[in-house]
Symmetry: C2
Subunit: 614 residues, 2 copies
Amino acid sequence: MQTEELTELAQQLRVDAVRATDAAGSGHATSSMSAADLVAVLFANHLRYNFDEPDHSGNDHLVLSKGHASPVLYAAYLAAGAITDEELLTFRARGSRLEGHPTPRLPWVDTATGSLGQGLPVGVGMALAGKRLDRTPYRVWVISGDSEMAEGSVWEAVEHAGTQNLDNLTVIVDVNRLGQRGPTRHGRDLNAYSRRLRAFGWHTIEVDGHDPHAVEMAYDEACSTVQKPTAILAATVKGKGVAAVADKEGFHGKPLKDPDAAIEELGGRRTLRVEVRKPAEAQASQPVRRGEPALPTFDKGDQVATRDAFGKTLAAFGDARGDIVALDGEVGDSTRAEMFSESHPERYFECYIAEQQLVAVAVGMQARGYVPFATTFAAFLTRAHDFIRMAAISRADIILVGSHAGVAIGQDGPSQMGVEDFAMMRAVHGSTVLCPCDANQTAQLVAAMADLKGIRYLRTNRGETEVIYGPDEEFPIGGSKTLRSGDDDRLTLVAAGTTVPEARKAADMLAAEGIAVRVIDLYSVKPVDAETLQKAAEDTGCLVSVEDHHSEGGLGDAVAEAFADGRAVPRLVRLAVNNLPGSASPEEQLRAAGIDAESVAAAARLLVEKGVVR
Amino acid sequence: MQTEELTELAQQLRVDAVRATDAAGSGHATSSMSAADLVAVLFANHLRYNFDEPDHSGNDHLVLSKGHASPVLYAAYLAAGAITDEELLTFRARGSRLEGHPTPRLPWVDTATGSLGQGLPVGVGMALAGKRLDRTPYRVWVISGDSEMAEGSVWEAVEHAGTQNLDNLTVIVDVNRLGQRGPTRHGRDLNAYSRRLRAFGWHTIEVDGHDPHAVEMAYDEACSTVQKPTAILAATVKGKGVAAVADKEGFHGKPLKDPDAAIEELGGRRTLRVEVRKPAEAQASQPVRRGEPALPTFDKGDQVATRDAFGKTLAAFGDARGDIVALDGEVGDSTRAEMFSESHPERYFECYIAEQQLVAVAVGMQARGYVPFATTFAAFLTRAHDFIRMAAISRADIILVGSHAGVAIGQDGPSQMGVEDFAMMRAVHGSTVLCPCDANQTAQLVAAMADLKGIRYLRTNRGETEVIYGPDEEFPIGGSKTLRSGDDDRLTLVAAGTTVPEARKAADMLAAEGIAVRVIDLYSVKPVDAETLQKAAEDTGCLVSVEDHHSEGGLGDAVAEAFADGRAVPRLVRLAVNNLPGSASPEEQLRAAGIDAESVAAAARLLVEKGVVR
């Protein structure tokens, strides 16, 4: 398309954005209007995309990081013939694929946006996949707002892309000067942005974002720049084209008051069609191996940390399957993810101490079909909570592994202790949460996780625990293991991870006193084995959960959920971490929190003495 | 102190760090050794601090962001006479104030560190307080590692400090080249860091971090730099002074293998004392007003959004009390925090779209005695989860307000919906979690929150709800309101926030069918009103929780906790958000999630029909 036609197309996108938001009665018209020329030129002359084959390996990837400007994206889909005008006007209606912020309910959307500052980090993941895994010349285009440049996650991504020389990545910053509440820090000072980006090793281009020819040239320059990612800083006007709102505060996130007048001012409706260039034929990419890994096995009675078992299993998976990638938050020696790097350095990605970028790389790579294991301390996954939340909305299939969970890590103290990871991960939509207590169980659960969908979380421990299961034991997701059971059990101890050995020891101590108790290893924290818990409740009448986690949202809550359907509930007791720990040995920590064997036995004894249990 | 003595002092700090980690059997000796000269010069010649009066308003603030280097800080405390050698050797032992990573159990530590990349953001909060609130010439010194410069939160802080001209802030980056797992991205390339920092408007100084005279000059230059914060990039050697570990990989986080040889190599034990300069006499700072606010009142039957009531109450607090500050994540028009800014612009801090920095400013300002309200969408507080977690470990007293909670926001879709905020906030140590359903209740709860300690969270809603309480009604923390109750109640609906009107409507519908149900407004989600819930259980035998939140970790869990002490448990049913919403109207969203009045009534009816309830 030539300049004149591009201008027309941009006006069409504006008109359609006005129409869509008007039909919806809500939505971000003015934020769409600033980006219209940028999107028009991209769709008309640069994007390579086959809308009939969204999974085509040669397709470019477009991430609208300023997801609230979805109307301009949907208007472009209409111009490209991917959706009908009728569908456009279902914007924000119940059941429509055209949500307020784009999600992968649309096949052309790789990742959900709407929480600002996430598009570029995820784009970095895709660009890394393109460069280092797919080795396919697709480009990644990210359209970002100027406000969201304030998010630290953007600068994690900028640093990563710059140092990784991701020249297949372009970010287009729609510098429209106005955030939601008011002016941004830098207004329309393009150099404020480009100066920062250049310091991080980026190529930058400053451009009038409403001059299609200039934008055209900038995109060309981005495509021909090697060894550096490119940022295009585009000066734009929020609400461009409609004087009543253009460059004015107070019109964020609203449809225009007089849409008919606005459409007239924009030159009326148009029905231009854009032929988006199709990608070159798919490269003859190497078929990805998907064999069966030879899982490591461990001898019963040995002392092995579950993090070690995880590292060995991950490495074994790397041998068998070419689609597995391991991502590290600069603690791979601790999480043991590093074991993967020794034999598969080309699929090991060091993300440094930048947990948001760590999870974003996982989301970006799974969009290209890889199975990413993103690993750091359980405590530090909280840094990426919003990215994990959004990953679920993105229908992303990723695996997160948090090591050094619980007070059991000991001397390092509370800043390093993950004692809220269950609460965070259980509350993620559609998540799976697993917590192994021994090495063979860890290997089996890692194997099971690899083939699940959605957000999967594995919690591992720093310290060693006894191997209690044989290597052939099976651990279905949603299952549990009853480790001790008898007809005269007076209560049931429910434990997971490090608290399993404590519960077993407690049961031994109680048995010696004539108090029989059942012990359940609830390794599948979500989904939970409701049936076994319900049976234990019927049999013993009282369940005592023991967890190295805060009492809210964790194992105790998982146990309670098994009875949340209106059935008769047993007596429930929660033993959990309610203190604020300092430094101390692992044993002292468990004792102080009241979750070591002695404390568990004491609690059980009290329940018996008080006649609470039968 | 002169250069020669400074060198001696630095060696002493190294020796004492070796001794402390040796005594503990764990800890970060080599990370302490790289920073020894930097700390020695600071304590000897620049820091102004009265160790006998940690609350002195003129004291400088020192944040050891690389908290794992705590041994060098504790060694400096020893040199300053603040602790004894005996206490130094309690490092990391149970009960010791000298934890693995510094926490405010030590009176000279303002904020806990150990989760990297948080020291500078919190330091920015303190520096802002110094410049804009206290107007006192204390300086804020942050000692940062080089690895943690990868954290996006650092760049949020860099941007904030640069644009706010915080010349009372100095960050000293200990560029020792080695992270935990291996080399950092930039090695000892000081210019890689300073180039980036300068682009953000900082003054930078590159220096040999083991040359006390050069460090001295750099600190002097930082103190005399106006209008810009200063970053000192110090080239150092990890493990400096002991050849066996110096500049070598594989020694992170470990005591030295041969401490005696190391101490000898370092020149043996020394017992130098440092006289840390005391601050000037406290400024005659204006007494902070602490009057009683005239809370806004609302008329029963009116439709008011709780976010509006929050904004008005916050503004009223601003009028009455000079210690209240309001912090915005660039959505103040939506959260209504903006109402505060109109009458108190000098105490309203725009933090832009940078939620980690938002919470960090709150933590920094509370360290100076202010009462910060940090406000954004409930969904986006997940971005700051790790900062909130660390704030609890810092014993920080802050208030967080999350608006636009739940699927009830409607068309904007899932990226904007806070449906995991209860799970996140309940699992924070010592937190208080409140969720008002009407405007008068909001005003009262905001008033109550202001005087609590710890991390307090208020959830507000976007849409309007009916004012059902009079302005004189009281809402104690840990209480609840029974809105409907009778002798023949067959079950109890437990709701909070937007689900309260739905539960009330459901109760009306059920009553019309001859099914009496109790309705409890559980506005205090944590602590929970166990007594009222237990009574309702005794009376009605079945509790049905109704929440606009995922089913994990929220209201249903709070209800279950009231029965987690081994007492008889009623039947519990959870109605919560289990679907992944798209765009739709608020009413459609509540219906789709099964938490609107009709769905609640249907669930209750089913329980009756099935004979589950009596």
